[in-house]
Amino acid sequence: MPFFFTLKISFAESVIRIPPFTDVLTRTADHHLRLTLSLTSFRYLFTDELYGLAYLFSLRTAFLSTLICLLLGYPIAYAIARAPRSAQNILLLIVILPFWTSFLLRVYALEAIIDNDGLLNTLLLRLGLISHPLIIMRTNLAIYIGIIYSYLPFMVLPLFATLEKLDRSLIEAATDLGSPPWRAFLEITVPLSMPGVIAGSLLVFIPAVGEFVIPSLLGGPGNLMIGRVMWDEFFGNHDWPVAAAVAIAFLVLLVGPIAIYQHVSGRQLEG
């Protein structure tokens, strides 16, 4: 037992190191660079509307792409859950496989398709459906496409997990009692799969808000995802206190509510 305890303490310290240190750290960094600075960088956040706009833009982008991901992912998850058990493993592997391959490279692969002289435009031009190439690259549409494409597996997996566990006899009961299949689906399958919907949405939404790679590779110069603003603040302007302030504000505004929500819902499940 003592052996276990020493081990436990030894790793606990190494694990605990990240967030509390950062919390203290941003403050100490500000203290080091004079106390007034810590307030100015935060005040800067509120006075310069760039940051407010960036937050709103990031939230909107993440929200919309999460919604579309849900609409696309639900049918896929449903189809896998209804598939014969022997096929499920293989189908799941097919969904997970892109997740294992490089994220950066998948975003890059997308570029070859939606680029102005990419596959999509070449194809549409050849077919005569359009006369000018569609401009998708470097627009907000490209960011949406990128996020949806990259995070679709994150949406499908939790949805599948809840849909698979769903008690099918409930739906049979509903159809036996005379409800048409679409009504049984809407009134039984959808409400019962809500935990999966919420889990999947959070898994897509949170990384999407802070996404950096996709907006910087696919998006135009005008888009203001918060991740990109932070990156520029860090590497472009070398204004570390402001970047730290953005990070803290971001955490408080986004991760805080979600953590509280999860805590509360966890309590409800236990109680």
Binding site: P98, A109, L251
Partner: protein, 303 residues
């Protein structure tokens, strides 16, 4: 009982998978394109792959990425497994909630924030202790911290499902806690350990944002190099590189999945055989009919 699988669902699956895989397939196809332009098909060629092998900068970056990934995932697996054991086996200890929070925090935090905070941490450490210098070491440390989260969650769920009574039985039969852990618990959770190592490895190999924040002069990982090239647009030698990486990783994952499934199946088979042999030994079956495995078990755990 058996119902027909609706054709609508089949088409949904086909479309979904097409969407997921089309860009990757296109990328691989282009990597064999003789023409450097995306819009022009110049015939089959492996010229870009040949060019790749001669690119020193690229090879160095790839090697660095591999080193980082192997070190980080190995350390993360050890620490993460210990954290998982602590969380599952010790119901309450001081700072349990804190530890849970700390362990899962990197899972939900956007990468940019993890990167920033870690860089600030390393910088202030450097100021106070003049250690660590930014470069290989800080990248490895940063990767370890986010990999631990994934390892802990994976191992934790496996450990919760594992049968605690087996370990207790071993201890009742006189095995010390260390031995019971090594011979019973560790093999039980080994699939989770293996898969979390693989997960950490790929995550580390793939990470761009966190590495970019914490790196120092002279340490450029493969994703960082790719990013700086890709920023300038589609380029054919990156196509070749990407296809290569995707091919290697993809086949590794499929192979690992297949191997793990086979071991699981074999284990199930063995348990079933062992159970059968125990039943038959009750009926005083000849010892020669018993599978050797069951014999060994009987020797090791005399009833």
């Amino acid at each position: 009982m058996e119902e027909r699988y609706p054709p609508l669902l089949v088409s949904v699956l086909c479309i979904g998978f097409a969407v997921l895989y089309l860009p990757i397939l296109v990328l691989i196809a282009y990597s064999f394109n003789a023409s450097p332009l995306v819009s022009v098909w110049g015939g089959l060629s492996t010229a870009w792959y040949v060019k790749l092998v001669h690119n020193r900068e690229l090879l160095a970056a790839a090697l660095l990425s591999l080193e980082v990934a192997v070190t980080a995932s190995t350390v993360a697996v050890v620490l993460g497994t210990l954290a998982a054991i602590a969380l599952v086996r010790f119901a309450r200890f001081r700072g349990r909630l804190l530890l849970t929070g700390m362990v899962t925090a990197p899972l939900v935090m956007p990468e940019v924030i993890t990167g920033t905070t870690q860089l600030l941490l390393f910088v202030s450490l450097l100021q106070t202790f003049s250690w660590p210098h930014r470069g290989f070491l800080t990248i490895v440390l940063a990767h370890i911290t986010f990999c631990i989260a994934y390892v802990t969650v994976t191992v934790q769920s496996r450990l919760q499902g594992a049968d605690r009574s087996l370990e207790e039985a071993a201890q009742d039969l006189g095995a010390g806690p260390a031995r019971a852990f090594l011979e019973i618990t560790l093999p039980l959770i080994s699939p989770a350990i293996v898969s979390s190592w693989l997960l950490s490895f790929t995550l580390s190999l793939d990470d761009l944002v966190i590495s970019s924040f914490v790196t120092g002069p002279g340490a450029t990982t493969l994703p960082m190099l790719i990013y700086s090239k890709v920023k300038l647009g589609v380029s054919p030698d990156i196509n070749a590189l990407a296809s290569l990486i995707i091919g290697i990783v993809g086949s590794c994952v499929v192979l690992a999945g297949w191997l793990m499934r086979r071991t699981e199946q074999r284990r199930e088979l063995e348990t079933r055989m062992a159970e059968q042999s125990e039943e038959s030994s009750l009926g005083a079956a000849p010892a020669a009919l018993r599978p050797p495995r069951a014999e060994a078990r009987a020797l090791r755990f005399p009833s």
